[in-house]
């Protein structure tokens, strides 16, 4: 079922398949980047351990900047550092950065096309027990509206490693959205990754599922069940780069299947599904049903409980697809 060309993890549907957290991938990679490149700097607003920055901080104390709980200051400081030739990574929870400091990201960073990387961890429902206030379900919308920024939402641990390396090498402002929760390993170290590219994980002909972030695992499970139970061949496309979209891959799949759903761990308004729908409505108008959180805040709960309560588990995707195909 999986696209062999992408060298994906063959064991992903096994029951005790390993889970790993994107934030751990970030922490490991940023330390390695620090070793390789003397211009990498890391800033955080009192979330060193939480965003897995301790290794970097210990190894490179002069390039690790603790700003205290001051995300606005942090974003503008990073802009200033980038103007003086450093490549700062601004690291916090997504629900604080790009929320609390959106104006600073707009003016100090994006308006100046500053080479600053914004890392929003604990995105989506991955900070579940902390409750609705701590769940970042609007950050994609906040980030992608800004002119000139790139928005990256990797689907798993290994893709996060590759994304962080590419983000360092790509000039200009970039927002990286990562999760706290350990999630299934979908890609491997040999899976290709480029900013701006979407990847067809499963080829199909009846419907396309576009997904971003680790929630794509629910889409893969849905595709597997649809095939086994309903004889429906769903194409599953991973879209780790939300801005700029890989128009070619997305449109050609939409042309092939003629019906689409988008899946995201985010509000459906203004987020990933909106980006897909907006683009398709101009390039190749087809139905795209947006699956995500619909005009509501979250709640306290485990990651799985919240996915289920707010309508983004595999059975919700299956229901949406069956309904769409009935039309």
């Amino acid at each position: 079922m999986l696209n062999a060309k992408l060298k994906l993890n063959e064991d992903i549907f096994l029951k005790d398949s390993e889970l790993k957290a994107e934030r751990d991938a970030f922490g490991k990679t940023i330390k390695e980047l620090g070793e390789k490149y003397p211009d990498v700097a890391v800033l955080t607003a009192d979330l060193e351990e939480s965003v897995r920055l301790t290794d970097f901080a210990q190894k490179f104390p002069t390039r690790f900047i603790e700003t205290g709980i001051a995300e606005q200051n942090m974003a503008s400081i990073a802009a200033g550092m980038s103007f003086s030739g450093l490549v700062p990574f601004v690291c916090s929870h997504a629900v604080f950065s790009p929320y609390r400091n959106w104006d600073q990201i707009r003016l100090s960073i994006c308006f100046s096309n500053a080479n600053v990387k914004i890392v929003g961890s604990h995105a989506g429902f991955s900070n579940g027990p902390d409750g609705g206030v701590a769940e970042s379900l609007e950050d994609i919308a906040l980030a992608r509206v800004l002119p000139g920024i790139k928005v990256i939402s990797p689907i798993d641990y290994y893709q996060t490693i590759k994304a962080v390396e590419e983000i360092y090498k790509t000039p200009g402002p970039i927002y990286l959205r990562i999760l706290k929760e350990p999630t299934p390993l979908i890609t491997t170290q040999d899976t290709p990754f480029e900013i701006g590219k979407a990847y067809t994980l499963v080829e199909g002909t009846d419907i396309t599922i576009f997904a971003t972030g680790p929630i794509i695992f629910e889409a893969l499970e849905a595709a597997k069940k649809l095939k086994a139970v309903n004889k429906i061949n769903a194409e599953v496309i991973a879209v780790p780069t939300i801005k700029p979209l890989d128009i070619e891959t997305i449109v050609s799949s939409a042309k092939k299947t003629g019906k689409c759903v988008s899946v995201e761990e985010h509000q459906i308004d203004g987020g990933f599904g909106s980006a897909i729908s907006e683009m398709l409505s101009e390039k190749f108008p087809v139905r795209n049903v947006r699956i995500g959180v619909n005009n509501t805040f979250g709640d306290s709960g485990t990651y799985d409980e919240l996915k289920n309560k707010f309508g983004i588990s595999s059975h919700h995707i299956i229901d949406a697809i069956l309904n769409l195909l009935k039309e």
């Binding site: 700097a41 002069t62 390039r63 900047i65 700003t67 205290g68 001051a70 606005q72 200051n73 974003a75 503008s76 400081i77 990073a78 802009a79 200033g80 550092m81 980038s82 103007f83 003086s84 030739g85 450093l86 700062p88 104006d103 600073q104 707009r106 003016l107 100090s108 308006f111 100046s112 096309n113 500053a114």
Partner: protein, 290 residues
């Protein structure tokens, strides 16, 4: 030969005062042409801009991206007419460009944008962000062991923004002694007097309690501006804040001290009157230093 040195210093100061007066004339002409903009702060900061760009800053307009240059961060972007006029006077771009203030495609936007013109070091316009940007530059200089200095200009009304105080905590904590913060203490903001809208006093005490080295100067006294900036250079392990007491609208009598001129441009008649009074000030400056 101290007497000779003194003479040349006096000449320098006279020269800078005359430049400041020219800059004020440019500001009035620019605003008249643009038909919108902010005169009070621009005029009030003319002496400081002249002193910075013609005496203090280690910059070369012909090599405006020299990584080791000093940097001036303008946080209260609305007073950019004085920044643009000063950059043109210093030779970053032709003075003929100044009449294009606020005109589409000119690069002289109503608030400055990094990259639009040589010499602009940051984007500003949403108040309160410049001190953080300046702190970032100062920190980068420390990390890279580069010897340049950062100067940040903010308004005073702008100090009502919370981010200023985040940066005010940050800079001393990182011992950013390569950072000089000049506060334009003109006591006005768009809707009135700062002390009536949201009082800032006792400003000196506030800054000292945040561990800044604080100086207070007459922001129209060129000697005081220069010596305060030199003093800041000699302070180590902490940044310096210079509270520069200025007169909003300085040099144009009918604008002076009036918050109504924060963001209102003169009519043609008013502009002519302003230019006339600025022209007469030239003679006064010359006689002051004779």
């Amino acid at each position: 030969m101290p007497a000779v040195r003194k003479t040349s210093e006096v000449k320098d100061i006279e020269k800078i005062s005359l430049i400041a007066n020219n800059l004020r004339e440019e500001v009035i002409k620019m605003l008249l042409e643009a038909e919108s903009g902010h005169p009070a702060g621009s005029l009030g900061m003319s002496d400081i801009f002249a002193a910075l760009y013609f005496k203090i800053l280690n910059v070369d307009p012909k090599n405006s991206s020299d990584p080791l240059r000093d940097r001036l961060v303008l946080s209260n972007g609305h007073i950019c007419p004085i920044l643009y006029a000063t950059l043109a006077e210093r030779g970053y771009f032709p003075k003929t460009k100044l009449k294009l203030l606020r005109k589409m495609g000119s690069g002289l936007q109503g608030h400055p944008r990094l990259g639009d013109l040589p010499g602009i070091e940051n984007s500003s316009g949403s108040l309160g962000q410049g001190l953080s940007q300046a702190a970032g530059m100062a920190l980068a200089a420390k990390i890279k062991k580069d010897p340049y200095r950062i100067y940040c200009i903010t308004g005073d009304g702008e100090l009502q923004e919370g981010q200023i105080w985040e940066a005010a905590m940050f800079a001393p904590s990182k011992k950013l002694d390569n950072l000089t913060w000049i506060i334009d203490r003109n006591n006005i903001q768009i809707s009135g007097f700062t002390e009536e809208i949201m009082p800032l006093e006792n400003l000196r005490d506030k800054l000292e309690s945040f561990n800044w080295y604080v100086l207070e100067i007459d922001g129209h006294n060129i000697e005081e501006i220069i010596s305060a900036c030199n003093m800041a250079r000699s302070v180590s392990h902490r940044p310096t804040a210079i509270i520069a007491h200025t007169v909003p609208g300085k040099g144009v009598e009918f604008m002076e001290y009036k918050f109504e001129w924060h963001g209102k441009v003169p009519s043609k008649d008013q502009a002519l009157k302003a230019l006339k009074s600025l022209a007469s000030l030239k003679g006064k400056i010359k006689s002051d230093y004779d």
